[in-house]
Symmetry: C2
Subunit: 129 residues, 2 copies
């Protein structure tokens, strides 16, 4: 099962694959992060999205600290197997800045402009920081 | 202008940044590819999306061969600057298989299942191949 799936994913030399998280019912692209083989396996086993944190070099159970979890609705793989699309149901906000998604800066004319404000205070998401 | 934008994009050690292409009006995630600094600059200059082909190690003017171009509607950058979201208007199909998007394989239960068929014959896209 996941063996079949995992065989179809082409992990890069670092053992990672980019994963796009999209809110399943609105189409909003929430974030992009990386998954290792183990994080894909855990995500499928638990139904909660688990990434690989490149900065911490550890499994990153999305929302474990902040509570802003992602329930997996469907996992898709692209034509050449080197990107994963996660249809998810996002609890709260996806971005560590407190915004609903991470793509809140848009090039408008010649200026990169902030187009969304935080919905929650970032410090409330990570109280121990 | 693009200097400001380009300063905010964190290219990886290979000089590339992952770019997600999303159909601007439907929210459909079409594909994921890579951009170099030069491909971002060309995309902004022309309004047509230009990626970097890692396999060919060359600028990849999307649709140059197939005619399936992507007009840039808006460019967004994520919170830490290491992913780009391209809102585009796709002409024809985004995927080289002739499907509208590249994410046509979904894990349904334990099986990776094809959930979309080609809209055009791939050989009609690349007649010289």
């Amino acid at each position: 099962m996941s063996a079949t799936l995992l065989d179809q994913i082409r992990f890069d030399p670092a053992g990672l694959v980019p994963a796009i998280a999209q809110q399943h019912d609105t189409g909003e692209v929430l974030m992009m992060a990386w998954m290792s083989r183990a994080s894909v396996e855990e995500t499928l086993a638990t139904g909660r999205v688990c990434y690989w944190s490149r900065s911490r070099a550890a499994l990153w159970r999305k929302g474990e600290t902040s509570g802003q979890t992602q329930r997996l609705v469907e996992l898709r793989v692209d034509c050449d197997g080197d990107t994963v699309l996660l249809l998810v149901d996002q609890t709260g906000v996806a971005c560590h800045t407190g915004r609903h998604n991470c793509f809140f800066r848009a090039l408008r004319g010649e200026t990169l402009t902030t187009i969304a404000e935080p919905l929650v205070a970032p410090e409330s998401l990570y109280p121990e920081r």
